[in-house]
C-alpha cells in the first residue's frame, strides 16, 4: 500500500513538475532559471522516489493512518467542516460562524453536555474579542447578525 502510494506520489510530482516547467517557459529571461532549477530537482528526486520503491519493502517515515474509533471523527469530514466554516464567515460574521463551527464540530466529535458547549463558546468568543478586537484592533468580519 505505502509503496504504491510512493509510486503514485512520485508520478504526480513528475506530472506537476513538467506542467509547471511548461508554464515557466513564458517567464522573462532570468526569472525562469531558479524555479526551473527547483522543478528539475523535484523531477529528479521523484524519479529516485519511484525507483526506490522497487528496492525497499515499505515506505519510510509514514505516520500510519489509523481508522478513527469514532466514524464522525474522520479528518476529511473535519476538514470539510473547516471549509464550510470559512465559507460562512463572510455572510454570517466571524463570531456567529465560529460559534456554529465549534458547536457543530464538538457535537460531531461526541460532546453532548450543554454546559460544555456554552462555556467553550463563550470562553472562546471572550478571549478572541478581548485579544484580537480590543487589543490588536483586528477588524474581524461582521455578518448579518454580529
Amino acid at each position: 500500500m505505502s509503496l504504491m502510494a510512493d509510486r503514485l506520489i512520485g508520478a504526480l510530482l513528475i506530472v506537476f513538475s513538467i506542467a509547471l516547467y511548461i508554464n515557466s517557459r513564458s517567464f522573462p529571461i532570468g526569472s525562469e532559471t531558479f524555479p526551473q532549477a527547483m522543478l528539475a530537482t523535484i523531477f529528479i528526486f521523484s524519479v529516485f522516489l519511484i525507483a526506490g520503491t522497487f528496492k525497499s519493502k515499505a515506505g519510510a517515515g509514514q505516520e500510519r493512518e489509523k481508522k478513527p474509533a469514532n466514524r464522525a471523527a474522520s479528518p476529511y469530514l473535519t476538514y470539510a467542516q473547516v471549509v464550510l466554516y470559512v465559507l460562512l464567515i463572510r455572510p454570517l460574521g466571524f463570531f456567529v460562524a465560529s460559534a456554529l463551527f465549534i458547536a457543530g464540530m464538538m457535537y460531531f466529535l461526541g460532546v453532548r453536555c450543554g454546559q460544555i458547549f456554552l462555556y467553550t463558546i463563550i470562553g472562546f468568543a471572550t478571549v478572541i474579542y478581548l485579544l484580537f478586537v480590543t487589543q490588536l484592533k483586528v477588524p474581524l468580519p461582521h455578518g448579518i447578525l454580529f
Binding site: 505505502s2 531558479f34 524555479p35 505516520e63 473535519t78 468580519p141
Partner: protein, 500 residues
C-alpha cells in the same frame, strides 16, 4: 557596551515584557502538556498575535512558549507515558516508571529542575557565543547565501523526514513556493494563475499555521473516540524543591545532557527529540547506576529533560547568526523574526542589537520563570492532561482561522491556511515532513537572489567561481555531508538489521 547592558536590563524588566514572558511560559506549559498540541503548532499560532507587539516583546513571548512547551511535554510523559511533544519520548520511559512506583512528584520536580538548568545553560551560551559568531555572516556573498539556504534545507530534510529523498523534495517544493508571486526584477507574476492575491507571494505565516497547526487538528480528531487519559494522582508530598541527594544524583547527567542538547541544537535541523535520546543513552553510559535506567531512574529523567531544553537555546544560535534554524520549531520562529522585519545576520547585533540582546537575555529569564511557575504549579499540572481532544480540536481549528486572518485582515490568507492544512496532513500521512517546506518558503527569496547574483558574478562559469571561494567550499562539503552521512547511516542500519 555598559550602556547596552543597562538598556537591555531595563527593557527585559518592563512590566509588559515580564507579563508576556509569564503568559508565554504558562501558555507553553499548557501546549506542551496537552498531548495533542505541539511546540511547532503553538509558536505558529502565536505569530499573528505577536505581530502587533513591539518586536522584542513579541519575540520574547515566542521564545518563552518554545522553551516552556518543550518542558511541558514531560508532564504527560511522566504521568501518562504519553509524551506531550516528541522531545519528551525518552523521558516517558523512566518518568512513567517513577509514577508507577508512586514517585510522580519526584519525577516532576527532577524534570522541572533539569529542564530549567538545560534552558539556562543554553541561554547563557547563546548570549556569549552568538554575537562573535554573527561576524561570520559579514564574509558571506551571494553564492554563500544560496549555499547556506541549501545547507539548511538539506540538513532539515535529512533529519526531519524518515526518507532523505522525501525531505529533499519537500525542501525544493518550499523553495519553489517561495518563487510564487511578482518577480522583483521583471515585475512578472510567476505561478499566480490569474489570482491577484498571489502577486505578493504565498504568505508564509498562514502557510505555516496550516502546515503545522490545522494539520495537527486533523490528527487530533482521530483520537477523540479514545477515552480521556486524565490522571488523578497525589502529587503533593510536601516538598517544593528536590532534595540535596536528588540534586547530587542528577548533577552530572544534567550538565552532560545540557552540553549535548546545546550541540544538537546548533546542528541545523536536529531537534529536541534527537537530543533527548542521545542525552538519555549517554546518561546511561556515564551513570554510576546504569542498571536503574529503564526502571525509574531520576538521573534518566534529568538526562533527557536537560538535553531537550538545552536544544532551545542552541537552536537559536544558527538562527540568529545565519538564519538557519536549529530545529523545526526554530524554523517557525524564523518566520516570527522575519515578519517583524528582522533579518538574521550581523545587523541583528548592530542595528537591532537592543532587540536581539533583550530577547537573548529574556530567554534566560523565561527559563527561570518557567522553573518557578512549574515548581509552584507542579501538583496541579496533571489537570491539563485530562482536557479532551474533542474540545481542543475545534478551538485550535478556530484559532487557526482567526490567526491567519489577523495578520493581513484578509480572507485569502485564511484560504491559504486551509489549503496548506490539508497539504500538511497528507504530507505527514505519506512520510513528508512539513518543516522543509516552511524553511524553503521562508528562505526562497534569499536563495534565489544569491543564486541569480552568483550566476551574474561568475560570468557563466559558476562552478569555478563557487569553488574558488573558501566559505563556499566549506558549505559545499557540509551540504554533501548532510546528504551523504544520513544515507550511509541508513544503509548501515538496514544491513545491520539483516540476519547474517
Amino acid at each position: 557596551m555598559g550602556s547596552m547592558v543597562g538598556t537591555v536590563l531595563v527593557d527585559v524588566f518592563t512590566w509588559q515584557n515580564l507579563l508576556v514572558i509569564l503568559v508565554g511560559v504558562i501558555g507553553g506549559i499548557l501546549i506542551g502538556g496537552l498531548p495533542g498540541l505541539t511546540a511547532n503548532m503553538g509558536v505558529a499560532l502565536l505569530i499573528p498575535i505577536t505581530f502587533g507587539m513591539e518586536p522584542a516583546t513579541g519575540l520574547l513571548m515566542l521564545v518563552a512558549v518554545y522553551t516552556a512547551a518543550i518542558y511541558g511535554g514531560s508532564i504527560a510523559a511522566i504521568l501518562l507515558h504519553t509524551p506531550g511533544t516528541s522531545a519528551s519520548a525518552a523521558t516517558a520511559i523512566d518518568g512513567y516508571e517513577l509514577t508507577k512506583q508512586g514517585k510522580a512528584a519526584t519525577a516532576m520536580r527532577v524534570s522541572i529542575v533539569a529542564s530549567t538548568f538545560g534552558g539556562i545553560f543554553s541561554g547563557v551560551f547563546l548570549l556569549l557565543v552568538t554575537p562573535p559568531l554573527s561576524l561570520v555572516s559579514l564574509k558571506f556573498g551571494p553564492p554563500e547565501y544560496f549555499l547556506l539556504a541549501v545547507f539548511g534545507l538539506s540538513t532539515i530534510a535529512s533529519i526531519s523526514s524518515g526518507s532523505l529523498i522525501k525531505g529533499l523534495i519537500a525542501g525544493a517544493f518550499g523553495l519553489l513556493l517561495g518563487t510564487v508571486g511578482m518577480e522583483v526584477n521583471s515585475g512578472f507574476p510567476r505561478f499566480t494563475f490569474g489570482l491577484l492575491d498571489l502577486h505578493s507571494g504565498v504568505s508564509f505565516v498562514p502557510a505555516m499555521i496550516g502546515l503545522f497547526s490545522l494539520s495537527q487538528v486533523l490528527f487530533m480528531v482521530k483520537k477523540t473516540g479514545e477515552s480521556v487519559a486524565g490522571v488523578n494522582l497525589n502529587l503533593d508530598d510536601g516538598r517544593l524543591l528536590p532534595t540535596r541527594q536528588e540534586i547530587k544524583t542528577i548533577k552530572g547527567a544534567s550538565l552532560r545532557s545540557s552540553l549535548i542538547g546545546l550541540f544538537v541544537g546548533i546542528l541545523p535541523g536536529a531537534g529536541g527529540d534527537i537530543a533527548s535520546w542521545i542525552g538519555y543513552s549517554e546518561g546511561k553510559r556515564f551513570s554510576k547506576q546504569p542498571e536503574k535506567f529503564g526502571h525509574g531512574s531520576i538521573e534518566a529523567v534529568a538526562a533527557s529533560e536537560a538535553a531537550n531544553n538545552a536544544v532551545t537555546g542552541g537552536s537559536l544560535i544558527p538562527l540568529l547568526t545565519l538564519g538557519i534554524p536549529g530545529s523545526a520549531t526554530a524554523a517557525v520562529l524564523l518566520g516570527g523574526l522575519m515578519i517583524q522585519g528582522l533579518v538574521p545576520g550581523r545587523e541583528l547585533f548592530t542595528r537591532y542589537a537592543e532587540i536581539t540582546y533583550t530577547v537573548m537575555f529574556g530567554f534566560i529569564i523565561a527559563n527561570l520563570v518557567m522553573g518557578a511557575v512549574a515548581l509552584l504549579a507542579a501538583r496541579y499540572l496533571q489537570k491539563i492532561t485530562g482536557v479532551p481532544n474533542r474540545i481542543l480540536a475545534p478551538l485550535v481549528a478556530a484559532l487557526c482561522v482567526v490567526g491567519s486572518y489577523a495578520l493581513g485582515n484578509n480572507m485569502f490568507d485564511v484560504w491559504i491556511m486551509v489549503f496548506f492544512g490539508m497539504l500538511g496532513y497528507l504530507m505527514r500521512i505519506y512520510g513528508f515532513h512539513p518543516a522543509p517546506v516552511v524553511l524553503g518558503l521562508i528562505l526562497g527569496p534569499m536563495a534565489e537572489k544569491g543564486f541569480r547574483q552568483s550566476l551574474v558574478l561568475s560570468k557563466g562559469d559558476i562552478l569555478s567561481y563557487t569553488l574558488s571561494r573558501p566559505i563556499s567550499l566549506v558549505l559545499i562539503v557540509l551540504i554533501v555531508a548532510a546528504v551523504v552521512v544520513p544515507a550511509i547511516m541508513d544503509y548501515r542500519k538496514k544491513h545491520a538489521a539483516k540476519p547474517a
